[in-house]
Amino acid sequence: MGRFMARRLAFFLVTLWMTSVMIFLLVRVLPGDVARVILGRDASETQVEAKREELGLNDPLFVQYFTWITDFVRGDWGESFAFRGQDIRELVTQRLVNSARLGLISMLIAIPVSITLGVIAGLTEGKLPDNLISVFSLSVVSLPEFVTGLFLINTVALKWADNPIAEKIGWFPSSSAVRADASFRDALPSLWLPAIAATLVLLAYIARLTRAGVIEEKKSEYVRTAVLKGLPYPVVIFKHILRNALLPTVTVIAISTGWLISGLVVIEFVFGYPGLGSLLITAIERRDLPMIQAVVMVTVSVILIANFVADLLYAALNPRITLN
């Protein structure tokens, strides 16, 4: 186990480092003048040159990278261009907390629902419930987040005179534009609708994988033995099938943070929720390069940590992995 953990940790650190190089190169080396981008078209040549000097853009590239990454690791992420003078780290952590709230609520809804759907589909393979669930998850997966988000806003939340559904359940606000520093309790009412939209992103993936796991375990020898031994069906399902079938599900839940984050970018934009995704879009629109770097670094770190945790969890639940 120790050697396995060390290997995964090394992999995690190497990937994180390479990604940081990638992000740096992406933002700094793409053709064009960063100082000119910041100052805009009207700035004079001397102003641009002064800005270049100030930002250290005249240094060799590896010096620039080294300065950036050491400052980043130390926690000095610089000041935002777009949000005048604000400390980037404060802004990013605040938005990260907001996104994490949204992500956690959607996971709390998505995981039980999708595992239940997946188990039902797996147990009734090829029959009506399975087909219904397959069609449902395929159509949910096919709808982009902004389509489901807008659909939810327009059917459930907007209270027009002629919208009976919204009138009946009028407690969902149509916009989630809460203050960025709102407490969890204040933000909660406006979290439900975006969380449901984000849930749909995860639902199909987790359900499909659980279904496959259940079908595979159902065919195994030990399950047949248990059934032939005369054990009651619920016992076979919960004690035998699910224990092994849910193993890959644990991993996919951790890995799906990547999908969830992509989905959240769009969903936060649709609902106007002040999370990391909407911060990134603002940063890109306002040419806030240090902010872009910071947001992408934080996002990638979250994803890589989730993958690392998934590896460890999987190994802890399935000792066969570490033996090889």
Partner: protein, 314 residues
Amino acid sequence: MQFFTPTPTLVGLRRSLKAVGKFARELFSRPPTAAGTLTVLFFLFLAVFGPQIAPYPDPNFQKNPSQEAPTLNLREFRLGDYPFGTDRLGRDVFSRVILGTRSIFRAAGLGTLIAVIVGTFVGLFIGYQGAWVDEIVGRIIDAILAIPALLLALVIIGIIRNLNFEPNSWQSEVADNAVLIVIAIVYAPIVARVVRSATLEIKSRQFVEAAQIRGESPLYIIFREIFPSVIPALVVEGALRFSYAIFLVASLGFLGFGARPPSPDWGLMVSENRGGLYALTPWALEYPAGAIALLVIGVNLMSDGIKRTVQKSG
């Protein structure tokens, strides 16, 4: 002696045509796959012949822009009228949905094609070469894949767009095709990884060893011996990538990072017609959103069917 001996290439051509025919027959034998494939072909048809079909081939045609109130005219479905209504600027939604197919197929289809070609070359090469080349390129691919596709696409497009270029220079060409290029950049590493693992598996087979002993050049072995065996995995991956690409192009358009207004881009149409004005012209949002959903479902069903067919025959 025969008068006509078919050349090896002709035999090969006929054989691959036969294989494609068999593949298509199997694809259409399952109803969901057939439905999905037909949907995709339908949209492809619209993408090619859109300007000839659309009642208003100019996407920005406004009929008396100042007087025209938004209309929905579904009860009298007449071509040449406004079957899907008009948006708030008085533009025909039906024509704009039809004309929008071309841009989504161009960005998603061409982008995927480039990703598949580049990814195949890289994957074959690093898979066959192995050793340190594989190790280094593999790590770089891992690093790229750690960034979610949408984020990577947003950052690249955002940066390309913020640069000022001379009109008609090659840089401005690049900026205009940013979405297409981004699709290729984002998906090429994924394709490369799939091709690499397929290559690793095939490399150890005996016919490859035989070719090596015969003294064939590495290029010959990669393209004549290994590449044909990689094709099934490649077809499956390409179809899957295409469905993700359509999704991504639509999302980018919606976020304002795809086509610029006034282009008839589906995602852009949805975002232009949402918000407070929704109550005024809901149909201007619903039809492009429906078109996106229909196309993605179609492509998903098709790629699912392709996967099944390939797995069954391979």
